[in-house]
């Protein structure tokens, strides 16, 4: 048999997106399977554990083997009408009942209803003396009796290896265990056998040798002080199965495994726009909002209002009656509700109406894969149409892992048609930090919020870095967070650069001032022109008056001359007549006089 050694678990590639798991129909799988009812595990195993065969569940202490096993039985009893026997070699029945009560399992009721039997097998080496040969028929009888009494279809042996601690003759034990598993198979019960992780092998005493049909390995690794529970199907004879390590989660709602691998990029897309909750922003985005089912990243420095954008989006959606799920990693839900009142958004009615769900967790509570598993489960339960993760930068860990996680989360949202809005805290002084650069390619719309420090104040500027598939504005816009929510203002963009806040106001005032001045200058020049014109016209009038006066004078002179000439002519004629040659002289003298008169006028 191929015995997987323990140290391969760590080197197994995680976050492998290429793998595709498709649950197949019953006709496809020849091997009958028993559903565990554990969400995710049945998908990975394509239906469940091999029916009527033993499965080995191994892992180190504290991996959740017992809870897993108990969940298998409880689900069987409640959901599949398959009673089960829990044979515990470690914990007493009362302890077991108390321990799984935290998962909400009411074991006493199931026991009373004949759906579950718990048998605690106590073996104390100090109380037992061995003398001669023996076998474990007593165990068989007990188990067989318990199975027969309630008609059990499922059996858990937790942890059968405890027998090795109680009994010394390992040769007998091994032979008997081999016989036990064969006997379980004959009985036709689906058995889950747990085993403690051993050095260099899956179980401490190598019982994986006997249980060879299906082996599931649980792991609880600590990385950077954060533990992540992981599950891996080591082998599954006769069936295909997911081979990756899958994070799983144990909390009040039981166990859920996250079988997330990217299912390609074949998801259906929508042409609808979802309003952003900020009308001005809707206008910047060409289609009047984000595309439904798209991923939106809002990145920015501390205090730029990333959450406010997220909450505005959620508020608008809740008003339309859409279900929204808000994951907060930095504030408690109450704190978010209180703080958002300051920007005029009251989330309390939405919470009461049940259209808004808050999930708060400390980022350091568990690894991001665990967060992802939890988010996946919450999404499954709440079935939102809008999801906000505030902020993704809260996840700690290597950026490649964060990237892989976010790819999966974005994938989940896209396949379910959920519009997801992620906020991300940028580091001061860097436009794009490492995690943003990693995730930005996943995002369909990226809004960058920035600060502008100038003139002793800080102003906020919004910019659409990208928005796939829409004709979006390229403008930087200043925005205000006020008690009426988010308001976008046209930023001053001019020779002085982009000015915001009071600088913008000052610049605007200055411009108004200048315009006024220019206007005044123009008016003054107009007035001057008018004055000049008036002056010139006055001069023209004066000159004209002068000329007229001169003309009159000259005409007078001419009249006088004429009169004089007439008189003189008459005198001459009289004189010529008196001399007898008057005609010639008269003509010559008249020409000379006229020329002289013209010369005078020209001067």
């Amino acid at each position: 048999m191929d015995k997987p050694s323990g140290n391969t678990a760590g080197t197994e590639a995680r976050g492998d997106d290429s793998e595709v798991i498709r649950p197949r129909g019953a006709a496809d799988s020849q091997l009958p399977k028993t559903a565990t009812g554990i969400s995710g595990l049945d998908e990975i195993t394509l239906g469940g554990l091999p029916a009527g065969r033993p499965t080995l569940l191994c892992g180190a202490a504290g991996c959740g083997k017992t809870l897993f096993a108990m969940t298998f039985l409880v689900n069987g009893a409640l959901d599949f009408n398959e009673p089960g026997v829990f044979m515990s070699f470690e914990e007493q029945a009362a302890d077991l009942v108390a321990n799984v009560a935290s998962l909400g399992y009411d074991i006493p009721a199931l026991v009373a209803g004949g759906k579950l039997a718990i048998d605690h097998v106590r073996i104390e080496r100090s109380e037992i003396e061995e003398s001669g040969e023996y076998d474990l028929e007593g165990l068989f009888v007990r188990l067989g009796h318990a199975i027969d009494v309630i008609g059990a279809k499922r059996v858990v042996l937790d942890t059968v290896e405890a027998l090795f601690a109680g009994l010394t003759n390992t040769a007998i034990l091994r032979a008997e265990l081999r016989r036990l598993f064969a006997w379980l198979k004959d009985k036709g019960v689906t058995a889950l056998v747990t085993g403690e992780r051993g050095e260099g092998q899956l179980t401490r005493y190598g019982i994986e040798e006997y249980v060879s049909d299906c082996v599931i390995l649980l792991d609880n690794r600590v990385q950077e002080q954060i533990t992540t529970r992981r599950l891996r199907i080591v082998k599954y004879r006769g069936s295909a199965h997911g081979t990756n390590e899958y994070p799983f989660l144990i909390d009040d709602d039981g166990i859920s495994v996250m079988p997330i691998t990217s299912a390609g990029l074949g998801h259906a897309i929508s042409q609808d726009a979802v309003p952003t909750g900020v009308p001005d922003l809707d206008a910047m985005l060409g289609i009047g909002g984000y595309y439904r089912g798209s991923s939106v990243l809002i990145s920015g420095l501390a205090g730029t209002g990333k959450s406010t954008f997220g909450v505005s989006f959620v508020d608008a959606a809740c008003r339309r009656g859409e279900h929204c799920l808000y994951f907060t990693f930095e504030e408690s839900p109450d704190q978010v509700v209180r703080n958002m009142r300051s920007v005029g958004i009251d989330l309390a009615p939405h919470l009461e109406a049940g259209v808004l769900g808050f999930e708060a967790a400390r980022p350091s509570l568990y690894g991001f894969e665990m967060h992802l598993a939890r988010m996946n489960r919450d999404i499954e339960q709440f079935n939102p149409s809008i999801l906000v993760v505030d902020p993704i930068s809260a996840f700690r860990g290597p950026s490649t892992d964060i990237h892989a996680t976010l790819v999966r989360l974005a994938d989940i949202c896209k396949t379910k048609g959920i519009t997801a809005l992620f906020t991300s805290l940028s580091e001061a002084g860097r436009l794009m930090d490492e995690s943003e650069r990693g995730v930005s390619s996943l995002m369909d719309t990226w809004i960058s919020l920035r600060d502008m420090d100038a003139n002793g104040e800080r102003n906020r500027v919004l910019q659409l870095l990208k928005s796939r598939g829409m004709n979006h504005s390229n403008q930087m816009r200043e925005y205000e967070l006020s008690e009426r929510g988010i308001r976008l203002i046209d930023a001053y963009i001019g020779s002085g650069g982009v000015l915001t806040g009071t600088a913008r106001l000052a610049q605007e005032a200055r411009e108004r001032d200048e315009a006024l001045k220019r206007q005044q200058v123009t008016e003054q020049r107009q007035r001057e022109l008018a004055r000049k014109r008036a002056m010139i016209e006055r001069q023209i009038a004066e000159m004209r008056a002068g000329i007229e006066a001169e003309e009159i004078e000259i005409e007078t002179l001419i009249e006088q001359e004429k009169a004089r000439e007439t008189v003189f002519g008459a005198d001459r004629i009289a004189m010529a007549a008196s001399r007898g040659m008057a005609g010639q002289d008269h003509a010559r003298a008249g020409r000379g006089d006229r020329g002289a008169t013209r010369g005078e006028a020209a001067v």
Partner: protein, 120 residues
């Protein structure tokens, strides 16, 4: 499970071998759990009788329980291996598993004090 043999040995019902005139403080109440009449069972019963006769003559009772007949008794006395010999009295509860072929270990396991048996 091995096939059942012809019933030559003790039956599954309580088999009182010893007489009952001893005082209750010295009484050994023993119960032997077996699963069917296998060679192992028969060997164990024979061995037990021999040891009791040697060391506890007159102050013991042996009860043989066949788990194939009364499987519900297995859980109560925490039986895993068979044959299992349980010393019910005197307290505390003691167990010896196996065919009881090693008498010394049985004596140690049952914590038999040979004082009175030597005195008598």
């Amino acid at each position: 499970m091995s096939e059942s043999l012809p019933s030559t040995g003790p039956r599954s019902q309580p088999d009182h071998v010893a007489d009952d005139d001893t005082d209750p403080t010295g009484e050994y109440s023993l119960r032997l759990y077996v699963a069917g009449q296998t060679p192992k069972s028969l060997t164990a019963i024979a061995n037990l009788k021999r040891i009791c006769e040697e060391h506890l003559a007159g102050r013991y009772t042996i009860e043989v329980v066949d788990l194939l007949v009364t499987p519900q008794l297995a859980a109560g006395d925490q039986i895993v291996a068979v044959p299992t010999l349980v010393r019910r009295l005197p307290p505390p509860l003691k167990r010896v598993i196996g065919t009881l072929s090693d008498s010394e270990r049985v004596i140690v396991g049952l914590d038999i004090r040979p004082k009175r048996s030597r005195a008598s």
